[in-house]
Amino acid sequence: MKFRFLLISIFFYCLLWSSSAQSYQDAANHACLKCHSNQTFTFHNELMDSEDRRLMNPFYILDTVALVAGVHNQFDCLDCHSYDYETYPHAANLKLEPLGTCLDCHGGDDSFASYQFEKILEETEKSIHSQICGEKFTCEKCHSQHTYATTARTSNNVMDIVEYSNNMCLSCHNDMTKFQLVSGEQNAQLVQVHDWLPNQELHFKHVRCIECHTNVVDDLMVSHNILGKEQAVKNCVECHKANSRLKSSLYKYQNLQSRSDDGTFNAVLSNQSYVIGTHQSPLLKLLSIIIFIATFGGVVVHSIFRIFKK
C-alpha cells in the first residue's frame, strides 16, 4: 500500500513537473531557451562579478515556433539532455554525453506500430547515406528531433508535404557546412547535378526528392531507402505516363485515406482510387488486341462455314 502511494505521488509529481516544464511557449523564462532562442545571451560572470553579454553559437539557436509545433513539444530539454546543463558555463565534458537514439523510445512500441520505425530503420540501413556514413547517419540528420512535424500524415496540402520533405534533404545538400559535417566532402552541386532535368525549378517545387531517389514501395510513408544518383529515376516516362511509380503509392494512400474517413463497408465499394496505367504496357495491349481479333475472326469464319456448309 505504501509502495502504491509512493508510485502515485511520483506520477503526480512528474505530471506537475512536466506541466511546469512546459514552457516552450514562454521562451524568455525557460531555463534553456532564454539563451538558446536568441542571437545573444547574458550571464553573470562570477570571476569578474559583472553581467556579460555574448554571441550565441548560431547552430545552437532553436526555432521556438517550430519547437512548439514539433512532435516532441511535450518533452522538456532535460528529458533528453543531461541535468548538468542546468548550470552555466556548461561543463566541457557534457559535449560527450551519449544521447538517446530515436529507436530507443520508438522501437518495439506498439503505440508507434503504425509508424513502422523498425522498417524505416531497415530501409535507412540500405540507403546510400548509410552506405557512405555508416551508423553515423542517424535519423536526426534529416528529422530534427527538436522541430520534427508529421506533415506528410497531417497536411492536406501536397505542396506543403513536398516542401517539408525537400527541406529535409536541402538542409544538408544545399548547405556547405552541414554537408561537410556528414560527408567530409565539398558540397554536391544540386543545380548542376540536376542539369539534365527539364523544368528543374518546377520539379523541385512540386515533386519530392525521394520520389526519384528512393526505391518504390507501395506504402507512401516508408520510402527511406535513399538511392544514389546512379540508381535514381532519370527516365521521364516513368512518371509522365500515368504509370505505377507515383500512382501505386498514391493508390494505397488514397484508398486507406478514404476508408478511414468513412469506416463503413460502403467506403470500400465507393472507393474511387484506381491503379492507373495497367493498360499502358504496350506489349500487353498489343497482345490483347491480337487475341481478341483472332478470337472474333475465328467466330466469324466458323459462323460463315456453318451458314454455307450446312
Binding site: 507501395d218 505505377s244 474511387q272 491503379v275 493498360h279 466458323h302 456448309k309
Partner: protein
Amino acid sequence: MTASKKIYFYPTWLRIWHGINALGIIILIVTGISMQNIESTFIGFNSAVSLHNIAGVIVTIGYFIFFIANIVTSNGKFYIVKPKGFIKRPLKQAIYYIWGMFHKMKAPYPLSEKRKFNPLQKYFYIIVMYLAVPAVIISGIALLFPEIIIENVYNLSGIFVTAIFHSALGFFISVFLLIHVYVATIGKSPLENFKSIVSGWHHV
C-alpha cells in the same frame, strides 16, 4: 425425326446463379474496359469504378454459392475429369467443331443425363470457374484492400503487378465469354441453348 428427348439439365438455383453471374460479368467487363480507356467512358470514370466494385462483390458472393452448391448437389460431378483420354477426348471434340460438324459427322460426345458437358467444354469451364474466376476474385479483393498486398515483387510495385494480373485475367474471361456465347449458338437451332438456360430443359 422422333420426338426429341428432354433432360432437366439446369436446376433453378443454377439458372438464377447463371443469370446473376452473367449480368455481373457483363457489367464487370464493360466497366473494366471503361476504366482502361479513360477518354471514352460511357458512365463516367468514378461511377465505373464504383459499379465495378459492387458488381465484383456480387459475383464473388455468387461464386461462393456456385462453389458450395457444386459440392452439396450432384451438379459437381459434371466437372470431374477422368484421366483416361485426358488429351484425346477434348481433341476429338475440337476436331468435330473445326471439321466434323461441316462434314455431317455426329457429335462424338452427345449429351445425356450422365454427360452435361462435352469434354472440351468441361475443360474450359474448369479452367474458368476453378482457376480464372477465383484468381480474379482474390486479386480483386486485394485491390480493394491494398494493405494486404506484398509491397515489392522483385523491383516492381506489388499493387501494380496485382492490377496487371487482375486486368489480364479479366481480359481472358472476356474472351471466354465471347467463345461461350458463340458456342451456345451451336445447338439444335441457334437460340435453342439460350432457351434451355432459361427454362432448365435441354432438348437432346
